[in-house]
Point group: D2
Chain length 341, copies 4
Amino acid sequence: MNFTSDNEAPAHPAMIEAITRANEGFATAYANDEYSRQLDQRFSELFDTDCRVLPIATGTAANCAAIAELSPPWGAILCHQLAHIQNDENGAPEFYSGGAKLMPLPGENGKLDPSTVAATIDGAGSHGVHNVKPSVVSITQATECGTTYRPEEIRAIAHATHERGLHLHMDGARFANAVHHLDCHPSETTWKAGVDVLSFGATKNGALTAEAIVVFGHPEWLEGMERRRKRAGHLLSKMRYVSAQLLAMLDDDLWLTLAGTANERATQLARGIEANARASLHWPVESNEVFMKAEPEKLAALKAQGFLFHIWPGHDDLARLVCSWATTEEQVAEFLGALDE
Amino acid sequence: MNFTSDNEAPAHPAMIEAITRANEGFATAYANDEYSRQLDQRFSELFDTDCRVLPIATGTAANCAAIAELSPPWGAILCHQLAHIQNDENGAPEFYSGGAKLMPLPGENGKLDPSTVAATIDGAGSHGVHNVKPSVVSITQATECGTTYRPEEIRAIAHATHERGLHLHMDGARFANAVHHLDCHPSETTWKAGVDVLSFGATKNGALTAEAIVVFGHPEWLEGMERRRKRAGHLLSKMRYVSAQLLAMLDDDLWLTLAGTANERATQLARGIEANARASLHWPVESNEVFMKAEPEKLAALKAQGFLFHIWPGHDDLARLVCSWATTEEQVAEFLGALDE
Amino acid sequence: MNFTSDNEAPAHPAMIEAITRANEGFATAYANDEYSRQLDQRFSELFDTDCRVLPIATGTAANCAAIAELSPPWGAILCHQLAHIQNDENGAPEFYSGGAKLMPLPGENGKLDPSTVAATIDGAGSHGVHNVKPSVVSITQATECGTTYRPEEIRAIAHATHERGLHLHMDGARFANAVHHLDCHPSETTWKAGVDVLSFGATKNGALTAEAIVVFGHPEWLEGMERRRKRAGHLLSKMRYVSAQLLAMLDDDLWLTLAGTANERATQLARGIEANARASLHWPVESNEVFMKAEPEKLAALKAQGFLFHIWPGHDDLARLVCSWATTEEQVAEFLGALDE
Amino acid sequence: MNFTSDNEAPAHPAMIEAITRANEGFATAYANDEYSRQLDQRFSELFDTDCRVLPIATGTAANCAAIAELSPPWGAILCHQLAHIQNDENGAPEFYSGGAKLMPLPGENGKLDPSTVAATIDGAGSHGVHNVKPSVVSITQATECGTTYRPEEIRAIAHATHERGLHLHMDGARFANAVHHLDCHPSETTWKAGVDVLSFGATKNGALTAEAIVVFGHPEWLEGMERRRKRAGHLLSKMRYVSAQLLAMLDDDLWLTLAGTANERATQLARGIEANARASLHWPVESNEVFMKAEPEKLAALKAQGFLFHIWPGHDDLARLVCSWATTEEQVAEFLGALDE
C-alpha cells in the first residue's frame, strides 16, 4: 500500500484514452500539432484571462525554464527552505539559469512570509555589484508541507515582490490539490493574486507525464522560455501526447475531480491520525499530503507491514503520507487500522 | 500525405499497448520501477555485451547528457557539419556541457572521414591552453543525409579517435534504420566498432517518446550522466512509461520490423525517383530518408497537391522525404505518380 | 583616514620596485616568463613541500578557479554564511563551476565547526540524485570576522571533510595576517592541517594585484585549474608583473612583515576600544580586522569627522575597521581619540 | 630578438610612472577611485561622443564580458574564422555567455565580408527555435592577419548587422595600430561606422595590463557588463592601477605614438621582405604584424640564429613577425640581414 508519492500512482484511464485518441494519423512535430495549439485558448478559458502555455514533460523543467527566464545569471531566487527547487532538483535552477543563487528562507507551515520576503530583498543588495541581485520569488502551491496559501497570502507576497521589481513564480506541482482545497477559482490563487508564471502540474495528479508553463501577461518572456525548453531537450517532437493529456485534464474539470479524491483521502487519513493517541499531525492537512508524527518504532513497524511512505529527512519520527486519485478509502482505513494496533 | 519527418507519424499500436500494460498499480518513481530496472539486462542481451542504459525522453537530451559527460567545458566536440547536435538542437550541447565548442567538419554523404577527424584533432591543440581541447567525436547513424556508416568506417573513426585519447559517441536517432539497412548485428556497428556511448532512438521509429543512453564499458560515466539527466529535468517521475516503450520495442525485434518497413518504403521511393527523368537522388538511400533533386517548380507543385516534405535549407531544388513505419506502399505510389505527371 | 578596507591602501613600494625590475626586455607571455616559472619552487620552499602555483589577478578568480575544479556542476560547496564566496563575489563560484550550490553554514566567530560540517555533509545526500552532492568545504583564513582558525581547528574540519570524500579549500585573502597572528609556519595552517588548495592573497597585503592558487598534492587538478584561469580571461599575457610581486612578497618574508604591521595596528585599535566605555569588540581580534560595537549615533559622528569604515550590513551599531601595512600608529591614535570624545 | 608577440615586449616607462603616481595614499576600491572615475569623460573626449568605459585586465575578459551581454545563451556570434575569440580564448565566449555558439566565417585578408555576414544571418534561422539565433557580429581591428578594416568596410558590415537586429562588437586588441595605420579619427572606425561596443586594447601597445570596454550608446548594457566583469573576478579591488595606465595612454596621444612606432617597424620589415627574393608577404601589412612566407628551412635557420617568432599553425612556411613600441630599427635591420644571408 503506497503512500510514498502521488507520482508512484498509475495514470488515470482518461489519460491513456487521451493518448490513444491523439495517436490518429500524422501530426506536425514540435508542439505545432492541433492539441498543443489548443492549449493557449483552453487555459485562457480556465484561468479567465489571456495566458500563454508551454507544454513540457516534467515539473523540474517547467520550474527551471520559467525561472531562468525571469532571473539573470547573477540573480537570486527566493524560495522556502523546503522548496522542491532548493532541495529536490539537483541544482536544476542553477543549471538552467547559468548559475543564479537560491536564497532559501524559513517560514511557518512551509509558506513564505511576506515580511521575510521583503526584508530579504531589501537586505540583499547593500553591496551592489558584489551581491547577487534578487530577481524572482518562487512559492509552492500546495507547499511541500501539504499546506496551501490562501489568495490574500499570495497577494501580500506578490505585493512585496512586485514593488521591489521582482517577479513571482508559482510551483504548482500540486496546484490542483490546492485549488480544490481552497474551493476557489484558479484565477484567485494565480494572476488575480499577482502570480506572473505558474508551473501547472498534471503528472502527480494522474497524468503519465504532463506539465505546463502558464504565463500571465509578459509576452516578452515567451521566446526565452521556448528557447530554454528546446535547449534543454524538452521540446518533444511528438508533443501531441503531452498536450492531449493536459486537454483531457481540463475536460469536465477532471483535474479537480482527481485532486478532490486525493484530498478527501488525505482528510480521511488526517482525521484518523488525530483520533489516534500515538500519532499526531505535524502540519495542517490542506491538500493530499499528510505529515504524521509517531514513534520511530511505530513507523518502522508500519513499514514492516508493507506500508510504503517517506520518513522525512532528518526526522525519524515524521512520516510523509501522500494520497492520490488512485488511493482508496479501504487503503486509508487499512492504514489507520494498522496504526491503531 | 506526410513525408516531413518520421516524428510526425503516429506511434505504433504496440507502444500504446505497452503504456497501457505499464499503467497497472503503483510503481517506484524516478526510474526505479520494474520496467526501467530491466533495461540494463535487455539491452545487454540485444548488444551481446554488458551495457548500462538510461531511459530519457528525447534525442537531444540523450545526446547532450552523454556528450557533456565526455567533454569538459573547454572541450571540443567534433561532428559532421550537418549533424543534429550542430544544427538542430539550439545549442543544447553547449548548454549541457557548460560551453564546449562544436567543431563541424565536412565529409561526403554526411559521413565523417577518419583522416579529417585525425587531422582536426592533431591540429587543434597547437596553442595549448589557448585552444579548446578536442574530447569527443560524435557520429550519426543513420546520418542526416540518410546514409549509413559501415562497421569498418566506424572502426576507422574510432581508431583515430581513441588513439588520440578522445571518446566516440553515436547519435542513433535512426539507429534502427541503419542496423536494418546494414543487416548486421547491432554490436557490429557500435561497441565492436569502437562506439563508447550510443543515443538509441525509438521516437522516430514508432514510440511516443522514448530514447536511451546506452553506455558500453565506462561505468565511471554513469553518475555524471544520471546527474545531468536529473539536473536537466529529464528524470521522469513516471519513467515506467518510457521504459515500457523501450522494452516493447525490443520484444520480437519490433524495432527492426518497424525500421524495416520505413526503409522499404524509402527504397520504393528511391527506385521510383531513379526511374523518373525529372528527378534524381542526391545522396545514396541507405535508411528511411530520401533526398530528391527536382525543379523548384516541380517541388512547389507537389506541395500544392498536398504532399508534405522539407525543402533542404538553402537548396530550393532539394527535397527531403522521410518514410516511417506508418508510410504505406500506396502513399509512396501516389507520390511517385504525382511526380510523373 | 581610511579603515574601509586593506584593499584601499596603496601598494607597498617594494611592489612597484618589483614591477619596475620585471620590466626589463622581452619575456615569454602567458606565465611562461622567468618570474612565473620560479613560483613553484619559491612557494614549495615557503610551504616546505612540493606545491604547484598559478598566479592570478584577483581573489575571486583564485577562489573560483580552484573551487570549480574541485566540484562538479551538481556539487555543493560548504562555507561559512559570512564567507566572501557566498556574499561578495556576485555568484562567481556558481559561474565558474557551472551552477554548483553554496551551502552557507552558521558558526561562531566566523568559523566553521567540524561537527556542523560533518552533519551537513551526512544529511545532504539522503535523496541521492535529487540532491546536490557536497564536494568542497571552503574556509577563510583569516575569517571575515577577523578571527583565525588554529591549526587543530583546521585539522578537525579537514578530517570531517576528507573522510567523507570531499576536499578542503582555504580562502587566504588575509592568509598572511592569519599566519602572523598564529605565529606558526605556513605549512601548519595549510597542508599539514589538511588543506588541499589555498588561495594565497597578496593584494590586500600590499600588492597592486597579485594572488596565487597554491595546490598541495593533486597534480591532476592542474590542467583544469589552468584551463579555467585561461577561459575566464585570467591568464594575463604579461603575467611577469603579477609573479614579480608574489616573488617580492616572499623575499625576506616581506609578506609577514607587512601583515605584522597591519595586525599590530589592529591590536592597538582593539586595546583602545576595549578601554573605551562606549564601544566594545564584537569578535576577537586575531588579524587586521576589528569589529567595533557602538551607538549608531557615535558611528555616524565618526564618519562625519572623516573616518572611513564599513557599517556591517544589517547592523547599524557594528563597524568594521580594517588596518593595513600603510596604517600608522598616529592614525589609530587619532581614531581612538575621536572615539573618546 | 623577439618578434613573437607585442605582448612579450616590456611596458613603456610611462606606464610604470603612471602606476607609481597612482600609488599615492588610499583610494576607493572596485573602480570607484579617482582614476577610474575619469575614464568615461576621457574616452568620451577621445571618441568625440558620450561613451561609457569599464576598465578590465585582459582582452579576453573585455571581449567576453561585452559579447555575453549582447548575446543570449542560445545566441550565435559571427566572427572571422581566424578571430581570437574563436581560436585563442579556450572557449571563453562560450563560458561567459552560457553556451552561445561561435560561427566562424571565411573572409579575405582576415576580414569579414558584409555579404557573407548578411547571408549567414539570413540562412541561420530557417528552422526557428531549433537553430541558435545570430545575435552579435564581432570584427577584429586590426585583424589577426595584420590588416585593417577601412571605415567604409565597417559601415557595410554594421549595416548588414544592424538591419538584421544584431549588434556589432569590435575586438580592438590592436586598435591603436589600426587607427594609426588608417590615420583617421578613432570615431571614424568605431561608432561613426556603426560599432556598438569596443574592446580597447592597451596591453599589446605598451601597458602592463590594461584594457577597456567602451560602450557607445546602449546604457542598458552597463549593468550586465559590470555584473559579468565582477562575476568573472575581473573587478579589481585596486583598479586604480589599470585605470591610471589607460589615462596615461591617452595623455598626449601616447597610445598612437607607441602604435606608430610599432607600425613603422612593421613597414620597415615588410619593405625588406618584399625586396628579398626568397621571402614574400602573405597578407598586406597594415598594422604591426607581418606575415612572411619563406622556405621552412630558412625559417628554421632564422630560429636557430635566435630570432623568435611564431610559425603559423598548419603552415610551416609562414612566419608571423610582430613589432612593438620597443622594437628598434636596428633589430629589424638585423633580422632582414639574417634573412638575406
